[in-house]
Structure formats: structure tokens, C-alpha cells
């Protein structure tokens, strides 16, 4: 079970072990449960998650706060903007 980042998100979505397109699809669903301005931390191991989440955030007009990689796990912090 991967640990969330030190920077606390309002919600953590664990998609480790899941392949494309699940991290994107689950993020799209999960972000709708947040209030505007709240953050979601996506944990994912799919190798394409960084370009995918950059494209997704750009297209959906949500803010990509940052992406870090810890071991095999990408931590993607997203702020709901709309």
C-alpha cells in the first residue's frame, strides 16, 4: 500500500496496479466528488500516467499541482478548478 505524499490532499485515489485508461477514468469520476479548490492525489503505476494526467488536466481545465515519483508510484496532485 503506497503512502500518500507529505502534502496532504483532500482525497487520495489509489490506482496502483491499474492500467490505462483506468487511472484517467477514475480520476475523472473522483474529482467530481470534490469541492472547487480541493485537491486529489492520484497514486498510479501505469507508465503513461504523467503525460496522460498533463493532457487530462489541460483538457478539463483542472490544475496539475505537481507530479512526483516515489519508487514505482507516481503521485499526481490535482486541484479541482471547475
Amino acid at each position: 500500500m503506497p503512502e500518500p505524499s507529505a502534502q496532504a490532499a483532500d482525497q487520495v485515489l489509489d490506482c496502483t496496479g491499474l492500467a490505462c485508461p483506468l487511472p484517467v477514468a477514475k480520476t475523472a469520476q473522483a474529482i467530481k466528488n470534490l469541492a472547487l479548490g480541493q485537491t486529489l492525489e492520484l497514486l498510479a503505476t501505469d507508465g503513461g500516467v504523467e503525460p496522460d494526467m498533463r493532457a487530462w488536466c489541460s483538457r478539463t481545465h483542472n490544475e496539475l499541482v505537481g507530479i512526483t515519483k516515489q519508487g514505482d508510484v507516481f503521485h499526481v496532485l490535482i486541484r479541482r478548478m471547475r
Binding site: P21, T27, A28, W56, T60
Partner: protein
């Protein structure tokens, strides 16, 4: 047939059928990703494509044969995100199918509607 002129729209075309399972799932993956990006998305099944939507096939085949998820999993992943599935009558005839033989929710269109969807889409991607 596109619901919203202001949305980005992608039309996928699947021509391969149940006899080529390795080519069955990718259009659903890409369509699901596009729908998650808030694009409006349809997949048009023509030539052998409609056979992938048979009620008696979606649980029996998957992109990796007996391993991994059945095709139904990938179909529902896409449709749960709002992807619409289209077929046309000549392709049903080619595969000796009726609309009733397919999973629920598949819409019937014709050549004119397909061409109209294609020219008004932002991208048409054919497999």
C-alpha cells in the same frame, strides 16, 4: 447526433470482429480515455465490428484470450463514461445479426448519419 456542438468530438471506427480478439479492446480504451477528458465520443462498428457487441460474445472473448478481463469489462468502462455505440444495418446483415442480438444501448444509424458525424467530429480514428 452529436449532443453538444461546443464539445470536442471523436468518432472511432471499429472494423474488426470477434475472430480477432487482440484488436477488440483498444478502441474501447481510447474512447474511455477521451470520454474522461470530457470529449463527446462515439464508436461506430462496421464490417465485422458488430460481432464484438453480441450478447453471447462479450463475456466469452477478451483481448488476451482466456487471460485478463472479458470484453464486457472494456465495453462497460467506456459506456459508463458516456461513450455511445453505433451500428448500421448492412453490417448487421453481413454478420447475420439483428439489433436484438447485441448488448443493450447500441444505436442504429445509416451511412448518411455516419458521414454527418464524421465531418462534424474533430477527429475520426479508424481501426
Amino acid at each position: 447526433m452529436w449532443a453538444d456542438d461546443s464539445e470536442t468530438k471523436i468518432l472511432y471506427v471499429q472494423t474488426h470482429g470477434m475472430d480477432d480478439p487482440g484488436r477488440s479492446a483498444t478502441p474501447f480504451f481510447l474512447a474511455a480515455s477521451a470520454a474522461a477528458m470530457e470529449f463527446e465520443v462515439m464508436i461506430y462498428f462496421t464490417m465485422y465490428g458488430p460481432s464484438l457487441l453480441r450478447k453471447d460474445v462479450v463475456d466469452k472473448i477478451g483481448p488476451k484470450g482466456d487471460q485478463g478481463q472479458p470484453l464486457r469489462y472494456f465495453v462497460e468502462q467506456a459506456t459508463n463514461l458516456g461513450v455511445r455505440l453505433l451500428v448500421c444495418q448492412p453490417s448487421l446483415d453481413l454478420n447475420d445479426l439483428r439489433l436484438d442480438d447485441l448488448i443493450d444501448g447500441v444505436e442504429m444509424i445509416g451511412g448518411a448519419a455516419f458521414n454527418d458525424l464524421a465531418v462534424s467530429a474533430d477527429a475520426v480514428i479508424s481501426f
